[in-house]
């Protein structure tokens, strides 16, 4: 845990926590980079200035590998592993961009987009919004009226932040921040598959739950589903 907290930098998100193993050299898109053993390919790519798009990863939390946006190709290996959960190896040759990867990422991001409130896309500045912009995703092929979570109720019970499940992409960053960073374990994912949702304690409003309002979940949320009320004018302007 030493390097994991002490190696963080303010202006970059390495994607996975910094490590302090012996140096390992690899190539990212042909560019050589050396990082400590135990680092992820995602961290190596960020270090090499070839940041890989991601949603469920951030360097204050251990890798989770759920969003499937950070896929890569590795020379001599099959498939498209997630760069956040793949540790670096000496001499590894990684490709972060290719036609196949673009197609895969577009497919995944389109799925997220299809269950995100459409009128909340313009003007957004969350990591999710920035990722869509960076990858040039503006539409999805799934049409309107499919299964979605647009009717989910906003939980504004906490005086300082609100949880709008319609914007939640169920990446678990909030759940993991509550556990790993804060150590309170107030949040969990309830249900499975399409039914899965973030809940506080026993499916209670945040204010009635074990939540201690440290803000780690809000900070971790990549889609402004958990967001400070103070960032809104009018209704959410606090006292």
């Amino acid at each position: 845990m030493w390097h994991e907290v002490r190696g963080l930098k303010d202006d970059v998100d390495l994607g996975t926590p910094p490590r302090d193993g012996p140096p390992v050299s690899l190539e990212i898109d042909g560019q050589p980079v050396t990082v400590p053993a135990g680092s992820s390919v995602m961290l190596a790519a960020a270090t090499a200035g070839r940041a890989i798009p991601k949603l469920c990863a951030t360097d204050m939390l251990e890798a989770f590998g759920s969003c499937r946006v950070c896929l890569i190709e590795i020379e001599g290996r099959n498939g498209f592993p997630a760069s956040c959960t793949t540790p670096v190896a000496e001499g590894m040759k990684v490709k972060t961009r290719s036609e196949a990867l673009t197609r895969l990422r577009k497919g995944v991001l389109g799925l997220y987009l299809s269950d995100f409130p459409r009128n909340e896309i313009p003007g957004g500045w969350s990591e999710f919004h920035e990722t869509l912009k960076a990858e040039g995703i503006t539409s999805h092929p799934y049409g309107e009226g499919g299964a979605n979570h647009f009717d989910a109720r906003v939980d504004d019970s906490n005086p300082y932040f609100l949880f709008d499940p319609t914007k939640c992409i169920v990446c678990s960053r909030c759940v993991r921040a509550c556990a790993e960073v804060q150590g309170t374990f107030a949040l969990t994912i309830d249900g499975r598959g399409f039914e899965s949702k973030v809940v506080a304690s026993q499916n209670q409003p945040f204010l009635q739950s074990e939540c201690v309002s440290c803000g780690a979940c809000v900070q971790a949320c990549p889609s402004h589903a958990l967001v400070e009320k103070s960032l809104f004018d009018g209704e959410y302007k606090h006292a």
Binding site: V5, L8, W125, K167, Q219, H224
Partner: protein
């Protein structure tokens, strides 16, 4: 729901709440703060935060914030708004008149641990160089003064031996009289991380706090001692270490005064400190005392963190010495993962402590009686300084009651609410002819003040804070001061009005002056902190970027050796009786902060709208109490009314409350006993009784206030 509005600007600064001193990026839109984001490079918090620093910042904008200076000739008159010039002239005129009539020493000053280092330094400069006496004290008097004394006596430095991250290399963590998950939440989270990695936990606390047991974190040993038996239990732990020869003989021989070690061994090794003797006194199982001792001594890296549960006792200094002795005897000092560390309550208690805001010492704990030190200050300040130590805050109040002390400059403190024996404090206040209060809001003390300087919140000024790990971090101005002046400017202008010429372009120049006059700070500057983020003192030519771990080679004592103090247990004079059969102890809760000046003005009151009395079911049944009943709690000193909560957190015979709300007046019942060495009040032990009452008069309005706060 629309998208949130993006903040325009962000400034890195330091949280003004507890002694963890988290780094934050304060984000603004126009002149309004819209968000506080924990700073990932903040070395105390690594991007984490708690509810107070992260969300409870809006107090700066509260409707009752005072924005113009106020004066009045008598505390029975209404306040009159005046210009800054008029307020300075009036206060200065009164102070000069009082000194002419009652003598140079009839006035003093008090600084606060919520002030920056620069402000604290200026306030003591005001007392010494301008008022011409050493009547300067600070609020650490009532919290951690025993830390400075007790640790200096044993290990040579009255400060944390470690940096916070050191806990990540600890194998055994001993928490004494502290509740980090509520009082120092971000450090509490770091501690829990380490516990989840497998570190063992010993907690010594009368109460079963959240630190004792929470999700994936459970103390291996919890010594739920009877309040007031700290020294007995720590001596008993030492007894086991001595009798079972668990001490680190090599360390003691290399690093400590061996003769003193032998004396200490003889004392704590005596049968009177055997767990079987102390167990019944402290109300704990002797086997648990042995387990705690073996765990601590076994390490390999054992570390101690402690809070006001150690210091705020009549043997507070002795308790601190016990911890110093333990660390030395087991060789748990001088490297990563070990140490003896006070958890400081307020953002700048350490700064308040080490910058000379004391009646007997200059910055760096150098005595005012020492000619050479005094000369260095005289040369810098161009005045002759008083060689006689001044009055401590409790003594200033005593002298005011006696009639010889007539005026006080109070910066950022509310002694009427936070100091013990409220009736006495009020009597002292009423007896003074000019009380100058410098704060954000009118408070309990302002009822007895004649001049009010409207201060600036930490979001409105520049300076530095020194956190509980000796880390000096920048406080940066995020918005313009609402009342027009930054706090350091107010103090400087007041000094000017009193006839002392000085000026600074910015508080960085005050820090430069501190650096010139204080060995531990000699390498500190705004430029250094801006460059490397923060630095822990000692920061000097040997350690240009500061020092994370103290005592690696030697202890900062004349011979470089640590020493053992004799820590005989002397029970407090505050004892239970037929009339007062319960022991009251006090503490803090996560969402509120001290006397609540800041947090009560934020939605944090939703979580803690009032102080309640925790009482064990046995004691509740004996008194016919139901959960939520109103009770009257009486002690020899006073009585208060509050609601009872039946709780398993306290043992039978012990009751507990917080002191965050002025209306519950917890300090009206606390005793006037204090630490034998430093006068730190004994807040943690008061004999009381509790009786059920009907809903008290005035409760209608209390209820309304509660509901209002909850909305």
């Amino acid at each position: 729901m629309p998208n949130p509005i993006k903040p325009e600007k962000s400034v890195v600064t330091t949280c003004a709440y507890c002694g963890v001193g988290c780094g934050f990026k304060a984000e603004t839109r126009g002149e309004k703060i819209v968000r506080m984001i924990p700073w990932k490079e903040g070395k105390a918090n690594h991007g984490h935060s708690c509810i107070k620093g992260r969300f409870a910042y809006d107090y700066y904008n509260a409707p009752d914030r005072v924005l113009t200076p106020l004066i009045r000739a008598s505390i029975d008159d209404p306040w009159k708004s005046v210009s800054w010039e008029e307020a300075f002239a009036y206060a200065a005129g009164e102070f000069k008149r009082i000194q002419a009539k009652f003598g140079v020493k009839s006035i003093g000053a008090v600084s606060s641990s919520r002030c920056t280092n620069e402000e604290i330094f200026l306030t003591q400069k005001l007392a010494r160089a301008v008022l011409g006496n050493n009547n300067i004290d600070n609020c650490a008097r009532i919290c951690h003064s025993p830390t400075q004394f007790g640790l200096t006596q044993t290990i040579g430095a009255g400060a944390a031996s470690q940096h916070f991250d050191s806990i990540l290399q600890a194998d055994v963590i001993m928490i004494v009289g502290a509740n980090p998950t509520e009082g120092h939440p971000v450090f509490g989270s770091l501690m829990k991380r380490r516990i989840r990695e497998g570190a063992r936990l010993i907690v010594i606390d009368p109460r079963k706090t959240e630190t004792v047991e929470s999700a994936h974190c459970k103390a291996d040993v919890h010594l739920a001692i009877r309040p007031g038996t700290n020294v007995a239990i720590l001596d008993s732990i030492a007894h086991v270490i001595v009798r079972e020869k668990l001490y680190n003989e090599a360390f003691v021989h290399a690093r400590c005064e061996v003769a003193e070690f032998e004396n200490w061994k003889a004392l704590v090794g005596d049968d009177k400190y055997a767990p079987e003797v102390i167990g019944p006194i402290a109300n704990v199982d002797p086997a648990d005392i042995r387990r705690a001792a073996r765990l601590y001594a076994g390490g390999p890296n054992s570390t101690i963190y402690y809070g006001l549960g150690v210091t705020e006792h009549s043997q507070g200094s002795t308790g601190v010495m016990c911890l110093g002795n333990l660390g030395l005897s087991c060789g748990m000092l001088g490297r990563e993962g070990v140490g003896v560390n006070p958890l400081r309550g307020q953002g700048n208690v350490q700064g308040g402590s080490c910058l000379g805001s004391w009646p007997h010492v200059f910055s760096g704990y150098r005595f005012v009686t020492d000619h050479a030190t005094r000369s260095s200050f005289e040369a810098e300040w161009g005045v002759t300084l008083d060689a006689e130590p001044g009055l401590r805050l409790p003594n200033m109040l005593d002298a005011a009651v006696a009639g010889s002390f007539k005026g006080m400059y109070i910066m950022g403190e509310d002694p009427v609410q936070s100091d013990p024996n409220q009736h006495h404090v009020i009597a002292a206040m009423k007896n003074m002819e000019c009380v100058v209060l410098h704060d954000l809001f009118l408070n309990e003390t302002s009822k007895y003040a004649h001049v009010f300087f409207p201060g600036s919140s930490s979001l409105e000024k520049d300076g530095t804070f020194t956190n509980a790990e000796r880390r000096v971090s920048r406080v940066r101005k995020v918005i313009e001061p609402l009342a027009g002046l930054q706090d350091w400017e107010i103090t400087v202008k007041f000094m000017n009005a009193l006839g002392y010429e000085l000026s600074y372009d910015n508080p960085g120049e005050v820090l430069d002056e501190i650096a010139r006059l204080s060995p531990n700070y000699s390498g500190m500057s705004f430029a250094l902190i801006d460059q490397i983020g923060s630095a822990q003192w000692p920061c000097n030519k040997d350690a240009p970027q500061g020092t994370e771990v103290l005592h690696r080679e030697k202890f900062p004592r004349a011979n470089g050796l640590g020493t053992f103090m004799l820590t005989d247990y002397v029970p407090t004079a505050e004892r239970t009786s037929d009339r007062f059969p319960l022991l009251l102890t006090t503490g803090r809760i996560l969402t509120q902060y001290n006397v609540g000046t800041q947090t009560r003005r934020t939605p944090n009151s939703v979580w803690h709208p009032e102080d309640v009395l925790e009482i064990n079911e046995q004691d509740a049944i004996a008194r016919g109490l139901q959960d939520g009943d109103w009770v009257q709690m009486s002690s020899r000193f006073g009585q208060i009314q509050l609601r009872a909560r039946i709780s398993e957190r306290v043992n039978p015979g012990v009751v507990y409350t917080t002191f965050h709300h002025a209306k519950s007046k917890a300090n009206a019942v606390t005793s006037d006993l204090s630490d034998w060495a430093t006068n730190c009040p004994e807040y943690k032990v008061t004999a009381v009784d509790v009786v059920r009452i009907r809903v008290p008069t005035g409760t209608a309005s209390l209820e309304a206030a509660r509901l209002e706060a909850a909305e």
